[in-house]
């Protein structure tokens, strides 16, 4: 049996960084990824086959036929679903994980986002809590992510962000037409618009060229590698050390334990569906919030009868994402300028300090909307088909601006991931079973954010506006988080401040799972910062052959 110092499960945002940090520190690392190593050439810019509109397939994984999940609706009926079905809550499965095809917004959470309970108290029926770490703890690690993966932007016009030691390493891309429109309107209203920070080169950086501003960015791979993800930064760096072995199409099914109950390795199925077993001193789970919870729950033994880390029934709980809400406005002049990636201007005036509301969201303009993404956004009163709908799209496709934001969700204990007692995937591994919904206050905040967005669009000159507010259903998807909460108290959390599983000191969970709350921001930069933070701890506690930390 092969033995490594560390096995990292999942080559996404979190796992890619941990693998590189450990390999660079001299540990022998096995990086397992259930998806493939895709290149932009494998995934053409296809508006029906991408990670945002997956009508004909999700090219960045996972495989359509091998990975069912189960979703339970509000009436308790469960249904087996596939990757492209609504409710699957997919992110991605490939080398780079979500970072291969993401939109690349690079947000730091605000200091208050780590202190939600202290700031607002606990809304009834919620598990809202403070993080055991602060913005200041993460600040240096945010900077590492910004510099190593590469972020462009300019935070100076934003008065709300936490203290930062250095500016972003690259200037922002030149503004788009929508940017200028929203920026000037927001300024007139006394708000503080600024360019969205992006994991995207605006100038040559770290050996990769700048963005050529194409139409297909979010949901697609970048063929010039201007968009930075773990697949074109830290993972190649990890492999270059010679200490990291990347195995693709390898799905981990279970963490094993030795005779004394100490986790000592894992079982996975390789690209030929053969069952393999490896031993490792350190086990890092970075499969994203749904799959990481699944792996812990599937790791049952005499010592962990309910799964590793699940002694107090917290694994898989508090699944959350973001409640995207906002408004759409129609203009009587063209606002479309065909300049990718499209999303360009943001403001953080409404993330906190909204009277009567426990939080808020950043607001920003949308990525370029491909025609297929415009078909369901029309004003109330317009029928969604027929002559009127066709004419509406023709008249307004180039004159529509969407302003939206990821409302920070109020976590609920019953929004959760379990493993299904009956349904198994292609390899016979029990699949995630997802149930629950949103907290009612989340929808109140989302509605307030949509109204704010509408006011800005009106000030910008929109002749007609309407709100977009999602429903009550379970949230997760691309921004999935929360299922292995970080906390000091082992009875009400799954990992400690260093992402170390309570009661299984050599097992770490390093991805969005550990988020106590998910900020009013896209989560990836925080996931990356936490990956550097946890790696730093692992390296400090590594004595050359053994892991000391406890």
């Amino acid at each position: 049996m092969t033995t490594y110092d560390a096995v990292v499960v999942g080559a996404g945002a979190g796992g890619g960084i941990v693998a590189k940090e450990l390999a660079a520190a001299g540990l022998h690392v096995l990086l397992l990824e259930r998806g493939k190593a895709v290149t932009p050439a494998d995934c053409r810019k296809d508006d029906l086959r991408n990670q945002r509109t997956s009508a004909l397939g999700a090219p960045f994984g996972p495989d359509e036929n091998q990975n069912p999940r189960v979703i339970v609706d509000g009436n308790g009926n469960s249904k087996v679903i596939r990757v492209r079905d609504g409710g699957y809550n997919n992110n991605a499965a490939c080398v780079g994980g979500g970072t291969q095809s993401y939109g690349a917004m690079a947000w730091r959470f605000l200091p208050k986002d780590f202190r939600m309970k202290e700031t607002y108290g606990v809304p009834e029926g919620s598990t809202l809590d403070d993080w055991p770490i602060t913005y200041d703890d993460l600040e240096p690690f945010y900077q590492m992510a910004e510099e190593e993966v590469g972020v462009s932007g300019d935070m100076t016009p934003d008065p709300f962000h936490g203290p930062r030691k250095k500016p972003l390493p690259m200037p922002p891309l030149p503004p788009t037409k929508e940017h200028l429109l929203i920026e000037s309107a927001a300024r007139r209203m006394g708000l503080h618009p600024f360019p969205i920070p992006m994991l995207r080169n605006s100038v040559p950086y770290n050996g990769r060229p700048p963005c050529m501003r194409c139409r297909w960015c979010v949901g697609f791979a970048c063929e010039v590698n201007a968009k930075g993800g773990t697949q074109n930064t830290v993972i190649p760096a990890a492999l270059k050390t010679g200490n990291c072995h990347l195995e693709t199409e390898a799905i981990a099914s279970e963490i094993t334990v030795d005779a004394s109950g100490r986790p000592n390795g894992l079982i996975y199925f390789d690209g030929n569906d053969r069952r393999q077993q490896v031993r490792a001193e350190l086990l890092v789970v970075s499969g994203a919030a749904i799959e990481s919870a699944r792996l812990l729950l599937n790791s049952r033994s005499r010592f962990f009868p309910e799964g590793i880390g699940n002694r107090f029934d917290w694994v898989g709980r508090n699944l959350q994402g973001h409640t995207y809400s906002g408004a759409t406005g129609l203009f009587d002049f063209d606002t479309y300028d065909d300049l990718g990636p499209g999303a360009s201007v943001a403001l953080c005036d409404y993330n906190h300090g909204n009277p009567g509301l426990a939080g808020g969201a950043l607001l920003c303009n949308e990525f370029i909307r491909l025609p297929i993404q415009a078909i369901n956004d029309f004003p109330p009163g317009v029928r969604g088909w027929g002559r009127e709908h066709k004419k509406f799209l023709r008249d307004y496709y180039r004159r529509t601006v969407g302003l939206r934001g990821p409302t920070q969700e109020i976590p609920v204990f019953d929004a959760r991931v379990q493993v299904d007692p009956h349904v198994k995937d292609h390899w016979g591994i029990p699949v995630p079973r997802m149930s629950g919904g949103k907290h009612p206050h989340t929808l109140e905040i989302a509605t307030a954010m949509a109204r704010k967005a509408e006011l800005i669009l009106k000030e910008a000159g929109a002749t007609r506006t309407w709100l977009n507010i999602p429903g009550q259903g379970l949230s997760g998807g691309q921004h999935q988080a929360g299922t292995c909460r970080m906390g000091d108290d082992p009875q009400s959390s799954v990992v400690n401040r260093y992402c170390q599983v309570h009661g299984a000191e050599n097992v770490f969970v390093v991805d969005g799972s550990v988020h106590v709350t998910n900020g009013g921001f896209n989560p990836v930069l925080t996931i990356m910062a936490i990956a550097y933070w946890a790696s730093d701890y692992m390296k400090r506690e590594w004595n050359g052959t053994r892991f000391r930390g406890a």
Partner: protein, 194 residues
Amino acid sequence: MKRRTLLQSALSAAVLATSAGCGGARSQYRLFSATEADTLAALLNQIIPDDETPGAVGANVIRFLDRHLARAYVGHRAAYRKGLQALEDSAHAVYQRSFSALRFEEQEALVERMEKGDLPAELWGDLPPREFFRTVRTHSMQGYYGDPRHGGNQDALSWRALGVPHPPVRGRDDYYFPKQGAAAMQPLADRQRP
């Protein structure tokens, strides 16, 4: 462009030669019988009708559906069979005529009832009319507004009607720096219309 058109017509000729729909009459489609194709065409023409520009039928959305019901939409195949039959039966129940033979306004009224779920339940069995409508609407929009490479949106006609630059600009190196202030708000160059 020419080459592609040629290839496409060769392909549809081949399909024509080999397939006969299960409805008896010879069909040019792999899955749809001639009757089903007629009903579907009339339904598509309601969802995305012809006006100044061709609608779903003219953009070859039937071919798109015929192709993808054998691939990515395969799970919906049975629903199409059932739903097209139920729509046809509903037309007979309400107007005593075939759906495709109804006047545009009559078809429209029936589709509106289908969207609301207000059609004789006994004709629809376990397939709710609303769900069938939603499915066909979504798929036909995908065929019409989606990439022409999938068999619909012939010659990118919907994109051109929307004013989406096509063929697209790739590898832009002439960065566009918009002017500040009012000048930036002028319309861009005229839309490309077919």
